[in-house]
């Protein structure tokens, strides 16, 4: 089943009198349970593509379908509901909320779900334990290493059991060993939970783990 479908997506940015074409007529189809890498050098459009798939940016033209629903005409609240219900995010800089501890960070996306507090806490605790950080529940992000922070971010993305998780260069700010651990963990979650992962990278070793690699070059899919 197709969970993401992009049809002739263009994204243009206007910088003064210059127009930059970040994406040019992109077509993409992602099936449930896939582990896909969007590969390409800096400025190739990886992050822009992920942003459009993640409903945090709108295309200049073209159609986006998430879980077979076209999102182009949704309001900002409608898009927020899709992000809250169907998409998990992992960021290059981890983007944990510094005033919340690990458990609260994982619990944050559950805020938008209608369920009892104790159930939210239980789900968050389980997600945190699934990434091996059960003992660090009360630690604030600044008390955790980069690898641990990214694990918390993965637990946060998993906590709502989303349809897909989007990861923007999740290993870019980690050393090689930790980066490999994070990718291994993502792959494990993909296999165990059948959660779709779409991540961007420009690291050849990372691409090797992906089921499918979509190469972007200058805003276009090159293979």
């Amino acid at each position: 089943m197709s969970i993401v479908k992009l049809e002739k997506i263009c994204k243009n940015y206007t910088l003064g009198k210059t127009t930059l074409n970040a994406l040019k007529n992109i077509d993409l189809n992602v099936e449930q349970g896939e582990f896909i890498a969007l590969a390409g050098p800096s400025g190739s459009g990886k992050t822009t593509a992920l942003n459009i798939i993640g409903c945090i940016d709108k295309p200049s033209s073209g159609k986006v379908f998430i879980d077979e629903c076209e999102i182009s005409y949704l309001s900002s609240d409608g898009l927020a509901d899709i992000r809250a219900g169907k998409i998990g995010f992992i960021f290059q800089n981890f983007n944990l909320l510094p005033v919340l501890n690990a458990l609260e960070n994982v619990e944050y996306p559950l805020l938008h779900k209608k369920m009892a507090f104790h159930k939210k806490r239980k789900l968050a605790q389980e997600a945190l334990e699934s990434v091996g950080l059960g003992k660090y529940a009360r630690h604030r992000p600044m008390e955790l290493s980069g690898g641990q922070q990214q694990r918390v971010a993965i637990a946060r993305a998993l906590s709502t059991s989303p349809l897909m998780i989007l990861a923007d260069e999740p290993t870019a700010n980690l050393d090689h060993v930790t980066g490999t651990e994070i990718l291994t963990l993502m792959k494990k979650m993909n296999l165990e939970r059948k959660t779709t992962f779409i991540f961007s990278t420009h690291d050849q070793k990372v691409m090797e783990i992906a089921d499918k690699v979509v190469r972007l070059w200058d805003g276009e899919i090159s293979s």
């Binding site: 942003n51 945090i56 609240d77 983007n95 919340l100």
Partner: protein
């Protein structure tokens, strides 16, 4: 709940900055409570000293006196004061009712003659023997709550009718001291001239320099003799508490109607133009002060919240990416503003009331107010309505100043926020 948690934790994230912002709110709140307490004390002392030294809580005249009594005072005398008093004195809240008879004339030492206003009073009611004493605070309190204070000699007594008490300024104009002989010269109610030899029993002082410069007090019995009348000019009602004024006024009006009394009633606030104008002026000044404080607090919180939005742009992007809606972001920053307002307001109320209480105990010596000759001691009061106002202002200003930064935060584009470093 988590919004409140995040908001509160963010308040204390930048301790120094939050402390400065909270200090501004606390200062503003304290300033309002203290200034409000100071003004209230001015009002209280001015009001009570006017009531106890001059006007009483109510004055009753014959109908028409208020309009024409100045030019024809003896056409509006009250002939049956005891009967009227008997109708009124049972009204709850009334401390006593006494009669007054006022006249203008001349007072002379033989060598020196000046014009004066004489006021016949009942020494049994209106002339407590209050010695001046050296303690300014005690003297100020006595003047406020008990009426004129004797700065030289003794008060009037019923047993010695041919004595007078002179205001400080009047005595000074005549160049006399207590015990000196004087002659009072005036017109009787019939229009003939009458004079009376009296002794200056004492010299008094009130909160009004103008009153002290022109007034002398003598026994009502003596005043009646001097004016050749058995009538009085006005009845003065003193209450147990000034706060009862409105209630007693209604009761008095009912009795006037029931007994068909052809009289007019004026309460202290209707008589004291100076007090009314002073209150209006001070209230206006207080309003300006409150506005200035509110603007300072608003600008301070606005700056803090704007900085918070700028510094946390990437966090705003993150929480929006995680599904938080625009109104959720708005709510988060409004909660932070509200938190600042509540914390600052609470400390402001605590510090403001404690400081006002301490200063009231110590007292601040103030220079003589306009129209007075004696310094006074300010004892700022803790006024519940002002305390509540100060607290609510803290919260309201915090919310108002958070509104624009919170709105700006909620309008940010997620992708732009996530790119922000």
């Amino acid at each position: 709940m988590i919004t409140l948690t995040i908001a509160l934790r963010n308040i204390f994230r930048h301790k120094t900055r939050s402390l400065i912002t909270l200090s501004t709110i606390i200062f503003g709140c304290t300033a309002i409570i203290f200034a409000g307490g100071f003004f209230e004390d001015v009002f209280y002392k001015m009001r009570e000293s006017y009531i106890h030294s001059h006007t009483g809580h109510f004055q009753i005249f014959r109908k028409g006196y208020w309009e024409k009594g100045n030019s024809q005072p003896y056409n509006y005398l009250i002939d049956n004061p005891d009967e009227i008093i008997s109708h009124l004195q049972a009204i709850p809240g009334i401390k006593f009712i006494t009669s007054r008879l006022q006249f203008s004339g001349l007072i002379s030492t033989g060598e020196n003659t000046v014009s004066c206003i004489g006021m016949g009073i009942d020494p049994g009611y209106e002339n407590q023997d209050i010695p001046a004493g050296a303690n300014l605070r005690k003297m100020s309190d006595a003047m406020t709550l008990e009426g004129p204070v004797i700065i030289q000699g003794k008060a009037l007594t019923k047993n010695n009718p041919y004595t007078v008490m002179l205001g400080k300024g009047l005595a000074s104009s005549l160049g006399i001291t207590a015990g000196d002989p004087l002659i009072i010269l005036t017109h009787t109610t019939g229009g003939s001239i009458n004079a009376l030899d009296v002794t200056a029993q004492g010299i008094f002082m009130t909160s009004s320099k103008e009153y002290d410069d022109h007034f002398l007090r003598l026994s009502l019995v003596t005043a009646k003799k001097l004016l050749h009348t058995d009538s009085v000019q006005s009845l003065v009602i003193m209450l147990d508490k000034t706060e009862d004024t409105a209630g007693v006024k209604k009761a008095l009006a009912r009795v006037f109607q029931d007994k068909k009394l052809d009289l007019e009633l004026k309460s202290w606030d209707e008589i004291s133009d100076f007090y009314r104008h002073t209150v209006n002026l001070f209230n206006r000044l207080f309003l300006i002060l409150k506005l200035v404080i509110a603007i300072i607090v608003i600008l301070s919180i606005f700056n803090t919240m704007n900085m918070a939005v700028l510094e946390r742009t990437d966090e705003i992007g993150t929480i929006m990416a995680l599904g938080t809606k625009k109104r959720g972001v708005l709510s988060l920053f409004m909660h932070e503003g509200l938190g600042l307002g509540i914390i600052g307001g609470s400390f402001g109320v605590a510090i403001g009331t404690a400081l006002t209480h301490c200063i009231a105990r110590i007292g601040i010596t103030m220079p003589p107010p306009p129209g007075a000759s004696m310094p006074w001691v300010s004892e700022p009061r803790i006024v519940l309505t002002t305390v509540v106002f100060a607290f609510m202002t803290s919260i309201l200003t915090a919310l108002v100043s958070s509104l624009y930064p919170a709105y700006s935060a909620s309008r940010l584009e997620i992708a732009d926020c996530l790119r922000h470093k």
